[in-house]
Every structure is written in C-alpha cells, then in structure tokens.
C-alpha cells in the first residue's frame, strides 16, 4: 500500500471520528438530528454550502469540459463563483426567519407550510426524492470511479468503502456531522486545488504562457464560444451556463436547508463574506487545470481524469494523496448532504407526515437514521449494478431540481400573494421542461441552455398558475411580513404611527383629489 493510500485512509478515519463525536448530540431531538438545533455559525454555514454545492463535477466533469472546450468552460465557473453570495443574499435571512416561525425542519415541509398545501409536499417530495437519488447515485459512481483509478481497488469495493464511510458518519452524527465534515472537506478541497494550480501554472509559464500555448494548438480554445466556435453567437447557451450555478443552488433542497440551520439571521452577513472569498479562490481553479491539461497531457484518453493525472504527474507521493483526498472531499461533501436530505424527506415528509403523525422524538431520530441508511444502501446498490455516464446524470438532476424548486423558494419570501396553484404549476412545468430539453437535445435546436429554458417556463407557469389559486391565509401573510424583517422601529412606535399620522394622511389625500383644503 502506497503512502498516498495511507494518507487517504487517515483522512477517512478523521471523517468517521467527526461522525462518532457528534452522534450523541445529534440524538437529542429530531431538530438536533435534522437541523443541528439551528445553531450553525457563519464559517461552517458558508463552507458547508460551498462544498455541498460543488460536487465531484468540480474535479472530474468541470475540468473535462475545460479540457475539451478551453475558456468557454469558465462561464460555468463565473456563475459558480457568485452562487453562494447570491444564494445567501437572496434567501438567507428571510428563509431562516420564515422556516423557524413555521416550525419547518425540512425544505419540503417548509414549502407545504408556507403555501398551505399537502399536495405541494407530495409533489415536492416525489421530485426531490427521484432527483436527489439520481444526484447521489451519480456522486457514488464518481466516488467509485475516482477511488478505483487512484487506489487500484476494484470498482465494487471502492464504492462500498468510499460510500460506506459517508453513510456511517451521516447516520451516526446526522446534520451536525454533515456540516462539520463538509467544513473540513471544503478546506481540503481548497488547499488541494490551490497547490495544483500554482504548480500547474508554473509548468506552463503562467496565465500568459497557458494562453499562448493554447492559441498555438487551436485559437478557438481562447474564445468563449467553445472549441471550433461551436456555440458562436448562442447567448442562450452562454447565459444558461453561467446562470445554472449562479442561481440554480437556490432550488436545491440539500443546499437551501443551510439557511434554515443558521444560528440566527446575523449569521448571513459573515457567511456571505466567507463564501465570496472561498469561491474566488476555488471555483476557477479546476477549469484552469483542465486547460493546463490540454498542454501537459495531450494524449489523455479520458478527459475526466485530467486532475488526477496531473496530480500524479506533477506531484507524486504525499501531495498527490492530498489531491486524492480533495477529489473525494468534493464528492463526499455533496453525497452526505444529499443523503441527509433524502433521509429527511423519507422520515419527516413521508413517514411522520403521512404514516405516524404522533411519533415520539426518539422514534423520529431512529426513523431518520434508518431512512438515511436506506437511502445510502439503495444508492450503493444502484451504483454497483449499472454505471452509466456519470456527469450527464449530475447535470440532469441538478437542472431539474433547480428548475422545480428555485421559483417556489424565492416566491415564498418575496411574493406575498404567491399561492399553491402557482407553485404547483411552477414546480411541475419547470422540472418537466428541463427533462424534455435535456432528453431531446433541444439546446442545439433552440440555442437555449436547458436550465435557462426551465427557468423561463417555471416563472411563466408560476405567474399563470397563481391567477387560479386562492390568496394565502392572513396568518401566512403576517408571517411573510415578519420574515421580511424590515421593522426598524420599536413595536409601540409602529403601533401608534398609523394612529398619529392617519388623520393628516386623510386630509392630504382629500386635498389632492378635490383640489381644496379640508378643515381638520
């Protein structure tokens, strides 16, 4: 066994230790297990959000895209670099407030309570379960593939060992273990990729040297229109590529749940700053490495292996082991969050909601643990039985989740009169259009990225559907106002203000209407 594999095993043991450490704390109540008692601080919130968002795609699929298309691929990074900032700024405070007032422990339950509709929970749970499973299944495949290539283990064993660790610490430590392992893994990911980019750029003569060499091979690598200018003039593709990771995260249940678990609304400001810095250091690097691979690895047969191959070419030994850990960190930090969310949906949104409404706290923690375990075992079995192309599935699942849930989550806190009819239409139309666009390859026909198409259709469906529904109840409208959190005056002042200025306002409006002064 090489030193790199030993270092990697130590890394896995650290993750296991974090799971065991948090297992007792997580068992206190369903809120502890599913949401870490809503007590997660800014740095951990920002890092878990980023590492959850950035999956194995960042180390395998993203660099492969850069290897094939050059600077076009950076459009995905540009959106990704702002994703966390946009997500926290738009949803952070309001979703944190509203989820607590509604007493929601899962992002799907949150939608049901906000829109007062069990149908939304059913449809939401079905869409989320199917596509979260597709997503986690793709991550498990990536984990197996990466481990198999990097350690030489048999694919089946690689999946069982790699994923077994994730399942263990998630089942044991719940959400708390997930966010803390994510925090640790985000740091490993960042260090790994920064090392590699630094030495990689040094090998090709810096950014100028990289571009010079790319231009010598094929000038179209330097354009934003893709290799051989395949997307020339297709702004629908370029904008969609940027938007998918810039705003798409706001539709992923396993990402938006991070807003619900923050310590308070004050957590948002520092978390945004952490996310801004982290993303600028991290997101561009994997794509740069893909382009460095064009120069340094011209005969590479599998573009998805560009980062692992570069790691072993440029840094044999210890540093390569850190890279291996970084790749696995990206995959594992996304997998654990999805697993956790799939388990939450099974336990909270299906079991407790429809099977045993009065389940005790202890029983709910047990059911949550068993649900996470069940989701993990199904994922492992599917990953072992049929491995199709990994990243087609990721893009498919990501886009469908984003298009189904993004508009409902934003409307929940920004549109007071958003109702269940609008949300159901938006969820179904958005998700379906992404599936159709991706399945039938309409991107090449229309020049519009599937995510952009799904987004436009889900907004239109929301606007039309909303006209057919009844407005939210008064209670929800009050909660909506409270979640806005724009009260800048003490309650007693607010209460008296309308009484004080009411008569004066009436006089002014009569004057404006009738053009003559009124005696007060």
């Amino acid at each position: 066994m090489g030193s790199d594999v030993i270092i990697f095993i130590v890394y896995l043991l650290i993750l296991l230790a974090i799971g065991v450490y948090f297992s007792r704390k997580a068992s206190k109540s369903p809120e502890s297990y599913l949401l870490a008692d809503r007590n997660v601080g800014p740095a951990v919130t920002a890092f878990t959000m980023q590492s959850t968002s950035m999956s194995g795609f960042m180390f395998l699929g993203g660099p492969a895209l850069a290897f094939q298309h050059g600077w076009f691929s950076i459009m995905y990074a540009i959106g990704d670099a702002g994703g966390g900032i946009v997500n926290l700024t738009v949803l952070g405070k309001r979703m944190r407030r509203m989820s607590e007032i509604l007493g929601a422990l899962s992002p799907i339950e949150y939608l049901e309570k906000r829109y007062e509709s069990a149908a939304i929970r059913v449809v939401g749970a079905i869409i989320a379960t199917i596509f979260l499973f597709a997503y986690v299944f793709a991550q498990f495949l990536a984990a197996g593939k990466a481990l198999e290539t990097l350690t030489g283990w048999k694919y089946e064993w690689a999946v069982i060992i790699g994923v077994g660790i994730i399942i263990f610490y998630t089942v044991a430590g719940g959400y708390l273990a997930v966010v803390w392992t994510d925090f640790f893994q985000a740091i490993v990911m960042l260090l790994g990729v920064i090392f590699l980019v630094f030495f990689g750029l040094a090998h090709v003569g810096g950014l100028s040297g990289l571009n010079e060499s790319l231009a010598a091979i094929d000038p179209s690598y330097l354009s934003i229109w893709g290799k051989d200018y395949v997307y020339l003039g297709q702004w629908g593709v370029i904008i969609g590529a940027s938007l998918i990771y810039m705003i798409g995260y706001m539709g992923l249940p396993h990402v938006v749940v991070r807003h619900m678990s923050m310590k308070s609304t004050k957590t948002v400001k520092t978390a945004t700053l952490w996310a801004a810095v982290y993303n600028q250091l991290f997101t561009y690097s994997p794509y740069l490495l893909g382009m460095i691979g064009i120069i340094l690895l011209p005969n590479l047969s599998d573009p998805e292996m560009v980062i692992p191959t570069l790691a072993y070419t440029l840094f044999p030994g210890m540093l390569a082991a850190i890279l291996l850990s970084a790749i696995m960190a990206a995959i594992m930090s996304t997998s654990d969050s999805i697993l956790m969310q799939a388990g939450t949906i099974l336990s909270r949104d299906i079991y407790q909601r429809f099977i045993d409404k009065n389940a005790s706290h202890q029983k709910m923690v047990l059911v949550s643990r068993l649900s996470v375990l069940l989701a993990g075992v199904i994922g492992v079995l599917v990953a072992i039985i049929q491995p199709p192309k990994v990243f087609d599935l990721v893009v498919f699942a990501f886009g469908t989740l984003g298009n189904s849930f993004m508009v409902p989550y934003i409307a929940a806190v920004y549109w007071k009169n958003a109702n269940k009819a609008g949300v159901l239409s938006s969820m179904i139309a958005g998700g379906t259009s992404n599936i159709l666009w991706t399945s039938f390859g309409w991107e090449s026909v229309t020049g519009i990225h599937p995510f952009l198409a799904g987004l436009i259709i889900s907004i239109i469906a929301m606007l039309i559907g909303n006209r057919f529904g009844t407005p939210p109840s008064e209670r929800i409208q009050e909660i909506f106002e409270e979640a806005k959190g724009e009260r800048l005056l003490p309650k007693n002042v607010e209460k008296n203000i309308s009484k004080d200025i009411g008569p004066e306002a009436k006089v002014i409006s009569v004057f404006l209407k009738e053009g003559h002064p009124v005696r007060g």
């Binding site: 670099a81 702002g82 571009n211 010079e212 354009s223 400001k269 945004t272 810095v277 005056l489 309650k491």
Partner: protein, 45 residues
C-alpha cells in the same frame, strides 16, 4: 493582457472582482440592517 482576445478578457477577468465587491457590499448592508434591528428590539424592551 495575458494573451487573451479582448472579448474573452472583458467577459472573464472582471468577475472575481465583481463578486468580491458584491460580497463586501452585502456584508456592510446586512451589518447595518442587523444594527437597526437590534435598536428596534431594544426599543421594544
């Protein structure tokens, strides 16, 4: 600069600075909101 074509340079290079600036602006905006909220809460008490 960096041997980029002009179009690629202007569509790519400013973004890290734009995002960082946005992160900083949002930080100070939220900081102000938090302070105002605290003041309002103190007024309630």
């Amino acid at each position: 600069m960096f041997h980029f074509p002009a179009e690629t340079f202007w569509l790519v290079v400013p973004w890290p600075f734009i995002w960082l600036a946005m992160g900083i602006i949002v930080y100070f905006k939220f900081k102000r909101d938090d302070e105002l909220e605290d003041q309002a809460k103190k007024g309630d008490e």
